[in-house]
């Protein structure tokens, strides 16, 4: 009897562990429009063109309304059992890591850390879902109202998965922070209902990502039309996608002899060992298949964010 009991526990325990899924990371950020309107932007020259990006650090240091809006959304989400990542703490942490890395050396040889410009560029605040908040004050004579917009953007698919927007009742007496606070709290129920629906879809149908494959022009004549056992490489990859996506859901958006683009690829939330899966992990599984016989193809996985991955086929 005891033997059976142990056997049962041994079977059930790993299943329980596997069922404990990771909470998606959510973070509130001000919208680009709001940052631009309030002057919290930085301008860079990139290849002759000026690029404007939001300056979250300065916005958080200088704007009290933004702090109270983020704080209010954080409180309301925490009440729903969903604590959010805090933008100000994340920005500070990234800055600290950059500073530490620049002065860090190894004790044996005194070498500094290897860090490419791409590494520095990639060191940005990452969340599974970004809650982009925007608001504006409308004035009509002595009356004031707030137009509020909260969008939930899935960082994997770049799709808007939840949203709440509207203009509150005009008021003669209420102060602007009070109107903003009221807007946040009034729209939260609708927003969280839509977020719940998105999570349900994700738990049932998997995460949505994009996988790109690019052949290398290295004179080896390896393209997606190269044949193995009578099948073109592109076809083999297509079949692998069919077998490894949730409910066989994916779209082959583009296909040439040198380039394949799969989007709306529904990947499982977890690997077979229970580890969380992202686009990078899924692309690595494809790479593992390609480097085995009879293909023996060397591939390089280039991570392009949480939901997009490039597989360079033919060379590292």
């Amino acid at each position: 009897m005891r033997k059976y009991l142990f056997l049962l526990i041994a079977i059930v325990a790993p299943l329980t562990l596997m069922a404990q899924a990771k909470l998606p990371k959510l973070m509130v950020v001000p919208s680009d429009v709001w940052c631009s309107e309030h002057g919290y932007v930085q301008t860079y020259e990139v290849m002759g063109e000026s690029e404007v990006i939001p300056d979250y650090k300065r916005a958080l240091q200088e704007n009290r309304d933004l702090l109270s809006v983020i704080s209010k959304i954080n409180i309301l989400m925490a009440e729903r059992g969903f604590p959010l990542q805090d933008l100000s703490q994340t920005v500070k942490s990234i800055q600290r890591i950059t500073q530490e890395n620049s002065v860090m050396t190894t004790s044996t040889s005194g070498s500094s850390l290897a860090e490419s410009p791409v590494d520095r560029l990639r060191r940005i605040a990452r969340a599974d879902i970004i809650l982009e908040v925007d608001w504006g004050i409308n004035e009509n004579g002595p009356k004031r109202s707030v137009t509020y917009n909260l969008r939930g953007l899935d960082a994997y698919s770049n799709k808007q998965v939840a949203g709440a927007e509207g203009t509150g009742a005009p008021s003669f007496s209420a102060e602007v922070p009070v109107l903003i606070e009221e807007a946040v709290q009034n729209h939260m129920e609708n927003f969280s209902t839509q977020l719940r629906q998105h999570f349900d879809d994700m738990l049932t149908n998997g995460r949505e990502v994009t996988i790109e494959l690019q052949a290398v022009d290295n004179g080896m004549n390896l393209t997606f039309e190269t044949e193995y056992n009578g099948k073109e490489l592109g076809e083999i990859i297509d079949e692998w996608m069919h077998d490894n996506t949730v409910e066989h859901r994916y779209t082959k958006n583009d296909a040439t002899e040198n380039y394949l683009l799969f989007d709306q690829v529904r990947i499982p939330l977890y690997k077979t060992n229970g580890q969380a899966m992202d686009a990078d992990g899924f692309a690595r599984q494809l790479r593992n298949m390609l480097r085995e016989a009879p293909y023996n193809i060397t591939c390089k996985v280039v991570n392009r964010g949480l939901g997009r991955c490039l597989l360079i086929v033919g060379e590292k």
Binding site: F82, N186, H187, E189, T193, D200
Partner: protein, 160 residues
Amino acid sequence: MKHLICTLFAFLLSFFAIQAKDDGNVLNYEINCGGSAVQGYSLVKVKVTVKKAKDATDDLAKRCAVHGVVFRGYAGGQGCVSQPPLAGSAMSEQQYSDFYKPFFEKGGACAGYCTVVDGSMLITKVDKQYVASFVVNVARDRLRKDLESAGVIRKLSSGF
């Protein structure tokens, strides 16, 4: 013959008695936004239809208000933001009838989640019925948390 009539009469009486009892639990109401409330609360206006004026009680208004917040939600407009039902769909009332039936009964636990705004009751006679309107303040956050704890509505984080 006399026995047969008596049996039939007794059967009909018991049938009407059951009907009357059921009517007491059927909530016939409309729900709308009653204005803006403080954090964690919803201010709703419920219009309850009753046969007798004395039936339009605070308890009935509270039951209707909580039922509306849980299963119907309400539309926005005029400065109000529309609110979805806490339970997601009315189907869950049948799914979890073991919990909801005693919860929404006369004197059930649902009345503990709201208060009727003083002096808000208005009653008018429409045909042979009375329509009473109340403004009720529902503790929405507390209600949601308790229903989540009872397992009849899903948490935002459930499944993870």
